[in-house]
Amino acid sequence: MLLVKKNIPSLFKILLIIGFGYFFWLMLKITLEYIPLQKEVSFLMIKQTEVVQRPEYLYFFYTHVYTSIFVLLTGFLAILRKDVGLKNFHQNAGKTYIFLILIFSAPSGIYMGIFANGGILSKISFVILGGLWWFSTFKAYQLARQRKFKEHKQWMWRSFALTVSAITLRMWKVIIVYLFHPNPMDVYQIIAWMGWIPNIILIEYLITKKYI
């Protein structure tokens, strides 16, 4: 029994890694739909109003699509803190994560949020999400520079919880559509909030209870 008890944390970790691997693969498949770069593919099929009326929309959109997959990957690798034999792996993965979010993924995300589907409530949610994402990542970066590693860890968990909202938002979509079959934009309004709020609540709980 003791052996089982001891191994539960590592078992949990393994499950998380497998789970993340599966969803990362799904996100990669989605990203690949956008290669080669086209104006009317996939999600853009219902954003032609924006594509046509705003010449910059495609730039922001593709910046977000092409960088975010690396954000997911580097964030996951950095937060695992596994020793893979490479020097400064955690720092290098982390720096890539921070750089991509602060310069590319978050600003483009905020821009897209302004034109989000589903009405004003969705737009507010995505803009707040983008803002918190940028801010938490920036704080985590600052704290690492100041070598305040305990707080750095806490803020990075906040940042990563928001990163993972890309996955949780889509999971909720599948569940809600399966259960209730609502109209497409009604689903969207719900998942715009459900995608990230439970994530951040969980992290704040874990921080308060000193698990992180």
């Binding site: 799904l26 989605i30 739909e33 009317e40 996939s42 999600f43 099929m45 219902i46 954003k47 032609q48 109003t49 589907n117 889509r170 999971m171 979509k173 599948v174 559509v177 399966y178 109209n183 497409p184 934009m185 009604d186």
Partner: protein, 305 residues
């Protein structure tokens, strides 16, 4: 060498133009031949009988229900008979049933005011119509050429002459049934019997149902924007799009749409292809709706956005 090349090219070009010229002469000789044909105008008679006659096409078939034995019952379909031309010897037109358009050729008896119309015979559902005209109605029967190839080899017809007019205002009637019976989705559900405590699995079918947006949005009268249709379900989008085609008299092949539009009193299926009849605005709306329908199909219930 240069001069040689130039000469060859020039000769080659001349040869080409020569070929072209020959082609032209052949064509014009063809034209003159057909021109000669056209100059003999075939006289047409009884143009007042031209038009579309629409109504019930009924036959007895063996029906196999989900439960129970086979029984012989009446099956009703809607048919349109289009009479296009009546000459001294022949009558030309088309029949349209279930989206299947077949030409016919036959004769008209002036004394009895009746038609005998034959479909070509190279399709297993072809047959002969024998109908009489009484003012605006055509009544009679139909016999399949190949009696063993069809479910109902003998059918009766009761048709009334209908004017097909395009009216962009036509909409589905608000009392219409909005359930798509043709595409049920099967769900396996669990049921626990309270008394015995046993859990059983059973399969239910759920059908799609359209919303009242189909009564409000008219793709023939308003230019649609993405905003107008973003929150509509796929069935709504499909109906709004196909209403455009229905208004132009398109004969739907899919039973889903036939069922929806046959409930109206204005839908007359007269043609297999109405693409050229759509107005520019209708064409744009259809393209927009198609995009959203495809997106709904690919993405509505999947992990992607």
């Amino acid at each position: 060498m240069k001069i040689l090349k130039l000469t060859l090219i020039t000769l080659f070009t001349i040869t080409l133009t020569g070929c072209k010229k020959d082609g032209k002469t052949t064509d014009s000789s063809k034209d003159s031949l057909s021109g000669k044909k056209d100059s003999v105008v075939v006289q047409e008679f009884h143009k007042e009988y031209y038009g579309i006659y629409m109504g019930d096409f009924a036959g007895k078939e063996m029906i196999t229900p989900e439960e129970g034995e086979e029984y012989e019952g009446d099956v009703y379909k809607k048919i349109s008979l289009k009479i296009n031309r009546i000459t001294k010897d022949s009558v030309y037109g088309q029949s349209i049933v279930d989206g299947n358009q077949r030409p016919f050729r036959g004769v008209f008896n002036e004394n009895t005011k009746s038609f005998i119309l034959d479909e070509p015979g190279n399709d297993k559902t072809d047959g002969r119509f024998e109908v009489s005209l009484d003012k605006d109605s055509l009544t009679g029967k139909w016999n399949a050429f190949n009696k063993s190839a069809v479910k109902a080899p003998v059918k009766s017809l009761k048709l009334i002459k209908k004017e097909f007019i395009y009216n962009p205002n036509f909409m589905l009637d608000e009392n219409s049934e909005l359930i798509d019976w043709e595409n049920p989705k099967n769900f396996v559900e669990k049921y626990t019997d309270e008394e015995t405590g046993k859990t059983e699995k059973y399969t239910t079918s759920k059908n799609r149902i359209a919303s009242d947006a189909v009564f409000k949005i008219n793709a023939s009268k308003q230019k649609l924007t993405e905003k107008d249709i973003k929150n509509l379900r796929k069935l709504d989008l499909e109906i709004i799009k196909n209403s455009v085609f229905a208004r132009h008299g398109y004969s739907f092949k899919k039973a889903t749409y036939r069922n929806f539009f046959e409930q109206t009193d204005w839908y007359i299926p007269v043609s297999n292809n109405v693409d050229n009849d759509l107005s520019p605005m209708e064409k744009e709306n259809v393209a927009l709706l198609n995009r959203f329908i495809k997106y709904a199909e690919d993405k509505y219930d999947s992990f992607g956005r």
